[in-house]
């Protein structure tokens, strides 16, 4: 059981780290600001969610696990809205390369 949980943790954390890598690669390689926003918001949030999923078996109790999940939900929410605001700012100032 312990071995299974450890394998689950390692797999989930590796997947999360991969999505962080994808997000940063997107940030560096995508052609303009709006697509780069997509990369850092969607990919990084998914990576964060996977990492938190992997850390859930290791938490010291249900309260800490709930806190971590609420951190993820908060980051999702604020990330989505802030991205819209940044995109609007980009549109106002004109797309810059």
């Amino acid at each position: 059981m312990n071995i299974l949980l450890n394998i689950f943790t390692v797999l989930a954390v590796v997947a999360g780290a991969f999505f962080f890598l994808a997000g940063t690669v997107g940030l560096l390689r995508f052609p303009d600001t709006l697509t780069r926003l997509h990369a850092i918001t969607k990919a990084d949030n998914l990576g964060l969610g996977l990492i938190i999923l992997g850390l859930l078996p290791l938490t010291s109790g249900p309260i800490q696990a709930l806190k971590m999940i609420s951190v993820w939900l908060l980051v999702q929410l604020s990330g989505a809205i802030v991205t819209q605001l940044i995109a609007r700012a980009v549109r106002l100032r004109g797309l810059q390369e």
Binding site: L74, L77, S78, I81, V82, Q84, L85, R88
Partner: protein
């Protein structure tokens, strides 16, 4: 090289790089963004140094609050043409030398410590139990060095008075000129309606839990101030006039209650800011609640800036 050491070295390098970039940034927005990023990384470094209380304060003040204050200051300077205030080469050289000396002193203190490192930590832990607190940082702030904490809160109010003193005579007592998000934005309204309830819960939680685990009045108050500023920026609530009774009452309630309890210490216990036996924790919690309110209102008004619209308009 263990992974922890590699992580720490990487963090140190990254924060140095951001610091250098901030110093050489072209315009004020880029510099402030660099400084806020510096603050976020510094919070992680405090965590690595096993100082969660300081990390909480750094994340609260050093990222959100300071960024907002600096941006406000930069915006006020923009009409004046802020490119013309570079110090002379000699001045910058002198600053560099002094900073280098401070860094060298810190490095020597860390690399060549004295035989027995002087520390009051064991004494603090031994004497913490009678106060009923579980968090040694709260113990230092409210029991052992309570005078410093009281004076800090007064300094915060003095800073607010300094900001208010920038108002013109006509605008004194009026509404601060907080720049509201110019175009009506449903997205920002959504955020300002959704985030503050969560923020208020987190702020109250931070203040309450600070007696036993890392947290406290300052961190909780800062979160509340940030949420209040967010609501004002989105235009959901008006910025209050600075001569409003409730505003001024909330501003001073924290230090006043702290001072009152301190003076009551003359009567009920041995000396100024001493707590009567058995009542230490309830009194400290009361002080923390009042301080959280005061800090929240003070920091919020600091972010709002000096009054610009007179009260008669």
């Amino acid at each position: 090289m263990t992974t922890s050491l590699a992580l720490d070295i990487g963090l140190a390098g990254l924060i140095l790089a951001i610091g250098i970039w901030t110093v050489f940034a072209r315009d004020s927005l880029a510099a402030v963004i660099g400084f806020v990023g510096y603050g976020l990384l510094l919070a992680i470094i405090w965590v690595r140094l096993s100082a969660p209380d300081v990390a909480l304060t750094e994340a609260a003040i050093g990222s959100g609050m300071t960024g907002m204050l600096l941006l406000g200051a930069a915006a006020r300077l923009r009409p004046a043409g802020n490119q013309s205030t570079r110090t002379s080469l000699g001045g910058r050289f002198a600053i560099g030398v002094l900073c280098g000396m401070i860094s060298a002193g810190l490095a020597i203190a860390i690399l060549f410590p004295p035989e027995s490192i002087p520390s009051l930590a064991p004494t603090v832990m031994q004497n913490l139990a009678p106060s009923g607190l579980g968090n040694p940082v709260a113990g230092v702030l409210f029991v052992f060095r309570a005078l410093d904490t009281l004076l800090e809160k007064v300094v915060l109010i003095l800073a607010l008075l300094g900001v208010w003193s920038l108002a013109t005579d006509r605008a004194w007592g009026g509404v601060p000129g907080l720049r509201i998000y110019l175009e009506p934005s449903n997205t920002l309204t959504f955020l300002a309606q959704l985030l503050p309830p969560v923020g208020v819960v987190v702020g109250v939680y931070m203040c309450w839990v600070g007696a036993n685990v890392p947290g406290g009045a300052f961190q909780g108050g800062t979160v509340l101030a940030a949420m209040w500023l967010l609501v004002m920026i989105a235009g959901l609530r008006n910025v209050p006039r600075i001569d409003g009774f409730w505003l001024r009452f909330l501003l001073v309630i924290g230090p006043v209650i702290f001072l009152a309890i301190g003076l009551a210490g003359f009567v009920l216990a041995d000396s100024f800011l001493a707590y009567p036996a058995g009542y230490a924790k309830p009194l400290i919690v009361a002080v923390e609640v009042a301080l959280t309110l005061s800090i929240a209102v003070t920091l919020g008004m600091l972010g709002a800036g000096p009054p610009e619209r007179s009260r008669h308009s």
